[in-house]
């Protein structure tokens, strides 16, 4: 059985999820032991029972009190209290250690959850340093990252099982979460509060990479979109500005709306439609033409482009590296 990218039982990749892991195993272990003990007790109690397949003449079996039943209850209670107390203490210690955001985060992100995608905003000292991307969060390895969570429409929940437990994203309040990845890798995140039709398809990637790679990535993302270099791309840009620009933004062009994912560096991302499809030409075409079939209820309408328009749009979009 290959491990699920959302599995939080087998391994964790950062200190926040790592400190939960042993507590999870501890409580799970206690739980299994308790179930086994109770099953054994029950088995020994019931084992002596007589089978009655036909209607019982129960009256023939004598009724009497007897045995010190209260002792069972008191011993049971005393034994139960021990793991409960241990769990309580461990819970409080873990809570104190990982609940609060780090005092000196290396990176502060603003994440806005919308039906059904994630907007990720990186900040900087200059207005030109600020950029937004979607459904893919890059972080440097070994650095605590503070995530400010903003509700865009309904309630969602931010969850990267390998790095951090859930924090709800609630309109009208800014919740804080934080995470830190100790080794480079791609960690899957998933919305975990029911948010409507496409709650199932609301994923994102957290890409942890060495600081130098991260800096390179960030520098690239800050750049506006490259200008078109072929007639096809030029026609494609016009189409994108006219059709896609009502909702999407491509920095450096007239497409400037922000109610859908920023497309400036679309091709640098692994997935389309918040983890619904892998990002490749075929899927991109399918997604543009018929998103309602792929992700029913999504805010993206079907486009009905002609073959010519589609190939122009594709030529331009694929230049957005």
């Amino acid at each position: 059985m290959k491990s699920s990218p959302l599995d939080y039982l087998n391994n964790a990749a950062g200190p926040r999820a790592q400190s939960i892991l042993p507590l999870t195993w501890f409580t799970l272990g206690i739980s299994i032991v308790v179930c086994v003990i109770i099953a054994i007790l029950l088995w020994f109690a019931v084992r002596r029972a007589r089978q009655q397949d036909r209607l019982v003449e129960m009256r023939s079996i004598p009724v009497e009190r007897g045995g010190n039943g209260i002792r069972w209850i008191s011993i049971g209670l005393i034994i139960s209290a021990v793991p409960l107390a241990a769990t309580l203490v461990w819970t409080m210690l873990t809570l104190a250690a990982i609940a609060g955001p780090p005092a000196h985060p290396g990176l502060i992100l603003d994440v806005t959850a919308r039906q059904w995608w994630w907007e990720v905003q990186y900040n900087g000292l200059q207005p030109t340093d600020v950029f937004a991307t979607a459904n893919e969060i890059h972080i440097p390895v070994g650095v605590p990252v503070l995530v400010r969570l903003h509700g865009g429409d309904v309630i969602h929940s931010f969850w990267v099982p390998k790095l951090s437990g859930k924090t709800d994203v609630i309109p009208g309040q800014t919740n804080l979460s934080w995470m830190q990845a100790d080794s480079p890798g791609r960690y899957l995140g998933q919305c975990s509060e029911f948010c409507g039709f496409q709650h199932a398809h609301m994923q994102f990637d957290v890409v942890a990479e060495p600081q130098a790679d991260f800096d390179k990535w960030q520098a690239l993302q800050r750049e506006p979109a490259p200008p078109p270099v072929s007639p096809e791309q030029t026609r494609g840009l016009a189409l994108v500005e006219y059709r896609c620009g009502l909702c999407h933004r491509v920095r450096g062009t007239a497409a400037g709306a922000i109610s859908a994912p920023d497309l400036t560096h679309l091709m640098s991302r692994r997935s389309l439609a918040a983890g619904t499809l892998l990002n490749n030409s075929g899927n991109l075409v399918g997604w543009i033409q018929n998103p309602q079939n792929i992700k029913p209820g999504s805010q993206m309408p079907n486009q009905y482009l002609s073959a010519q328009q589609l190939s122009d749009a594709l030529a331009y979009l694929e230049s957005l590296k």
Binding site: M1, P5, Y8, L23, T24, M58, W72, G76, V154, K166
Partner: protein, 646 residues
Amino acid sequence: MRQPDFRTPAVGTTSIELEARLLRLWETSPGLKGFLTSVDHKQIGIRYIVTAFIFLALGGVEALIMRLQLAGPNLTLLTPAEYDQLFSTHGMTMIFLYAAPVLSGFSNYLWPLLLGSRDMAFPRLNALSYWIYLASGLFLYAGFVTGNGPNDGWFNYVPYASRDFNPGLNEDFYSLGMVFLGISTTVGAANFIVTAFRTRAPGMSINRLPIMVWGTLTASVANVIVVPAVSLAFFMLWMDRQFGTQFFDPAGGGQPLLWQHLFWIFGHPWVYAIVLPAMGMVSDGLPVFCRRPLVGYSLVALSTVATMILGFGVWVHHMFATGLPGLGLSFFSGASIVIVLPSAVAVFAWIATIRLGRPVITTAFLFFSSMILLFVIGGVSGFMTASVPVDWQLTDTYFVVAHLHYVLIGINVFPVVGATYFWFPKMTGRMLNEQLGRWNFWTMFLGFNLAFLPMHLTGLLGMPRRVYTYNDYGGWHALNLITSIGAFVFAIGVLLLFVNVLRSLRNGAVAGKNPWDAPTLEWSVSSPPPPYNFAVIPTLASRHPLWEDRLGNEGIVSNMDRGMLLDEGKETIATTALDAAPDMVLEMPEDSFAPVLLTLGLAVLFVGLLLKVWLAVGLGAAIAALALLAWFWPRSELRERTPAHG
């Protein structure tokens, strides 16, 4: 003291003439009129149970359709919109229209018989509570069959439930239906509370109450306290949706989290309300098959109450991920861990009862005793979610789905089916088939565990809840397929119960008064009991009136043959709250059209509100007012009289 009606009830023994006289007084008239007007708690109880089982079947079919969709990754049997309505309606049905009403049904049927009374304290209120349950159930399902079922889960979080994101009638049906249903729950709970405290047979002091009465009483007190919170929340939501109030809208200064607090301060105590009476069924039923009294009666009774008191302080454990401050979370985490202890009292009491008794395996015993294990599994998974950091990973994954099904099926369905095998003979005069019963039990037990035990792992491997489809990440497909197969096996088990009931109604062995040789009062009367329950009001001297000769308590003799006759009208006795000393003769109302008419009026009113047809609202209110007028019209024969003591 009210002098004019001062009267000492005559005391005597039962006789044919007395029974004939009582039958004339208490019998419901036949036909449609009787059906619509009856206030007999036994008829109402059976209607409750049958209706609740129909809703159980509906909710079950909804679950099976969902399990087909989830049997494999990326299946397209259902659209997301259909799936959302199915899972929301499934939750609504099972929690509101099955789990609580079925317990109300058993309690309605059994309480007066357990307590030695001739009816509930407020028989017409009892009828009203059933009719409103039925009407609101139909109202909610009218939404579902017209494609307007709830689509935001049973928990119905805003802002997704608000009009901006959910413009259809779906949430209006759900909001108004829940306010409507809340009336039924509230009047029912008030009736149970007064009945438990005031209409017990003389001598049935508070320390002789069957545990099921403790369970339902505790649940009823909780309902009276918490149902207003949820009714208010749904009313506020409807106002937000239809009249632009902004209770939950952050743009207008409202708070989405307010909904969650109002909902869960109701929702968590409600979970205890739908398990405590069922735990009571086990506490009362299991000892009969162990041939000994329950171990630790007082501790179990107290732990029932303690669970509920602690249960008021745990609602935030549904909200650990909402960004509340750590100190607050710690408190609720602690309370959620501590609440394990009173549950442990019941578990060890049951096991000790089996161990120290002479257990006899019957189908009822199998359901009751297996429930202990399911209860523990559901309990420990709940304990895991009580730890805040662990819950940050577990919450909203399939782990929680597994947990809540162990709680609701394990601690509600299993005891209820056991109770059906146990009390069916009393209700119908016939035994359920034990052979078929074994098949019934093992199919349900194996199917249930096959479906839900692997589901814990599905959750631990990260599968989120409430998704209409999924990718096959490490093992998800296999686990989901197993769950789907288990769900169908479980459904076959439930079907076997229905088959057994229908067959046994006609062909079952005749039960007689007390087929299980059980110790409590309901087994002292014929099966099914006469409309007046008891020809003479019994006098209790112990917790086990029918086992007194064998438990060897010298000189303790309850009296079921000689007692107050109360045959001058439709009468029963009211007793004092703690000691159950005779206090007052209660004049009970005749059958009445008022409850069904009031329900009809309210139904018209709620449909009017839903469609905003104000004429219908006015008409419904007028019908309801007329019904209330008829209900409360003063009648001299209902004047209460105080008896002499002794």
